[in-house]
């Protein structure tokens, strides 16, 4: 069992981004998450000896990019779907 601790600045990465990241590793690790003074602290216990800190940090970066895309494209996605389903009677 490997244990470790990572800290994230909540001004840089949102709590949702961190949680989504950790969810992806839930088959291999368990986590304790805390936030204090804008610092998100993640303590993990992993089943195997791997570079979990590196993997988690990289995935946080990826999740952050997903967050950017999601926020910027939310309205246009709604427009595309509304357009797709117009005139079908599927939307009342």
């Amino acid at each position: 069992m490997k244990e470790g601790l990572i800290e994230f600045d909540s001004h840089v990465f949102s709590l949702d981004t961190i949680k989504k990241t950790l969810y992806r590793f839930s088959d291999k690790c368990s986590f304790d998450i805390a936030m204090k003074d804008n610092i998100i602290t993640v303590v993990f216990q992993a089943k195997t000896e791997e570079d979990w800190i590196g993997k988690i940090k990289n995935e946080v970066l990826d999740q952050d990019l997903r967050d950017i895309i999601s926020k910027e494209t939310e309205n246009i996605r709604t427009l595309i779907l509304a357009n797709a389903f117009s005139n079908t009677g599927l939307i009342e």
Partner: protein
């Protein structure tokens, strides 16, 4: 009457966009390997890009006149001042992809009997050994099931006969086909029939009936004789011989394309993928479905379902696909069926009809099952679960009425829960447009119809396959050309 000339805009007006001034369109991404990502959009258009390219795209740092910019724009990942036609095109393609939902229930499975003359260790349907009429569907039940068939909006309807061994109740198959075709004169649907059979009872009478009514056959062939008989024992120990004889008879009378076969991977299969494929080639079959064992029925009771894990099965699949590609290089057009389904999803917006990889799930809207006793199930797997004693996905009975079944809470709740866009990990996965949900699998393995995808064998298997196929398409041009030749368009 004079015609006034139309004035075109100056060409410069189509070149107004500047570097860094584009708008992102909805997109997802997933890592393919240590260096590359798959970027995909709502309709499944995709690009394979590096990490730097991904970051540049999101941060709007892709130079306007670069090849990468044009790739992103042409595939619907960005719009700029010069053109926003991608918005309408994405809507049109999304509508095409979603069309299967309005044209629902194309596959109607009739379980005409639960009796079977085989004793397969991994039997998913918990067959019954004796030809007990209690386990046969009646004509009355079949008539009511046909009522459901013709309420389906789908223009193309396939009736698939399953069991047990459905030919043990051939008289009912005959009844359903003839009655169905008579009733179809009013509805004019494209009505097709398939019998899923072990072929042991494939008499001349059955073959002639199949020929008369254009009925296709689907059978199981697990590999060379020793493996097939070990997996699928039959009293008389002649299961393989009967299967091969049946395949040859069917090919001779009905045509080569009227019979297909698939295999189920057991622990014994794992080191033998090449000889399994050779068995198919030797018997003039066009394709193979390298299918893992499902966690239902006798496969759970006999522990067959737990004798190998996803990684072991994936090695089997990879070796099998490699061998099949080598066979194709020798000039023999032979397909791995699951790979073909994935390729169609990668390269076209049209539905593949494959029930187990859809979002929302295919329960009742792609396929519906009428059991021998009249009970209706949301899917084939739902029926298998019921035979294990869990009727969670039983929708009702043929006596309950169409609206009662199709508007039931269990069905609507299941459909609502299985939209990939609403599921953690799925909702931002780059493979979402090509993947699907399997509520019965997740309920059977995790006790929840959604499940935690990090723990899901379904997710693990499919992600490995997607990565492998896309990497082949990118890195091996010869394999790419062969794989692209497998794509069909409906």
């Amino acid at each position: 009457m004079s015609l006034s000339a139309k004035k075109f805009k100056l060409i410069e007006s189509f070149d107004q966009a500047t570097d860094g001034n584009y708008q992102l369109l909805p997109a997802r991404f997933v890592a393919l390997d240590d260096n590359r990502y798959l970027l995909s959009n709502e309709v499944g258009e995709f690009l394979v890009i590096s990490r730097d390219q991904l970051r540049n795209y999101v941060k709007k740092q892709v130079p306007k006149y670069s090849a990468y910019y044009y790739d992103l724009k042409s595939k619907g990942f960005l719009i700029d001042k010069d053109s926003n036609v991608a918005v309408d095109l994405l809507a049109l393609k999304y509508r095409t992809k979603a069309q299967r939902i309005s044209q629902f229930t194309g596959l109607h499975i009739f379980v005409v009997t639960l009796s079977c003359d085989y004793s397969c260790q991994y039997c998913q349907v918990s067959r019954q050994a004796n030809n007990d009429p209690t386990f046969n569907m009646s004509e009355k039940t079949a008539d009511k099931a046909l009522d459901f068939v013709f309420r389906s909006p789908s223009r193309v309807v396939k009736i698939e006969f399953q069991g047990g061994e459905p030919l043990l109740n051939f008289n009912l198959i005959r009844y359903i086909v003839t009655t169905g075709k008579t009733r179809n004169a009013q509805y004019k649907k494209d009505l097709q029939f398939v019998i899923c059979t072990n072929l042991s009872l494939l008499t001349e009478e059955v073959l002639n009936f199949c020929m008369e009514h254009n009925i296709c056959l689907s059978t199981s062939l697990d590999g060379p004789e020793w493996l097939h008989n070990a997996n699928r024992p039959r009293s008389g120990k002649n299961g393989y011989q009967l299967t091969i004889e049946g395949i040859k008879k069917a090919q001779s009378v009905l045509g080569k394309n009227s019979i297909g076969a698939l295999m189920t991977t057991t622990e014994k299969s794992l080191p033998n993928v090449q000889s399994i494929i050779d068995t198919y080639l030797e018997n003039n079959l066009n394709s193979i479905f390298l299918r893992p064992i499902s966690p239902y029925g006798f496969a759970v009771k006999t522990r067959q379902a737990y004798k190998y894990d996803v990684d072991q099965w994936f090695e089997f699949y990879k070796k099998g696909l490699h061998y099949i590609i080598e066979v194709n290089k020798q000039g023999y057009h032979f397909i791995e069926s699951y790979t073909q389904i994935i390729l169609n999803k990668l390269f076209s917006p049209f539905a593949t009809g494959y029930v187990d990889l859809q979002s929302p799930c295919g329960a009742a809207i792609s396929a519906i099952v009428y059991n021998y006793d009249g009970d209706i199930y949301a899917s084939d797997e739902s029926r298998m679960l019921a035979e294990m004693g869990d009727k969670k996905f039983r929708l009702g009975n043929v006596n309950d009425g169409y609206e009662h079944i199709m508007l039931s809470d269990i069905l609507l709740d299941t459909l609502e829960s299985t939209l990939s866009e609403s599921i953690p990990m799925c909702n931002d996965c780059g493979f979402l447009p090509y993947c699907g949900t399997d509520p019965v699998y997740h309920y059977a393995t995790q006790g929840d119809v959604v499940g935690n995808k990090a723990l899901s064998g379904f997710c693990s298997k499919n992600m490995k396959i997607f990565r492998h196929i896309i990497t082949l398409l990118e890195d091996d041009m010869e394999a790419r050309n062969i794989l692209l030749s497998w794509i069909f368009y409906d």
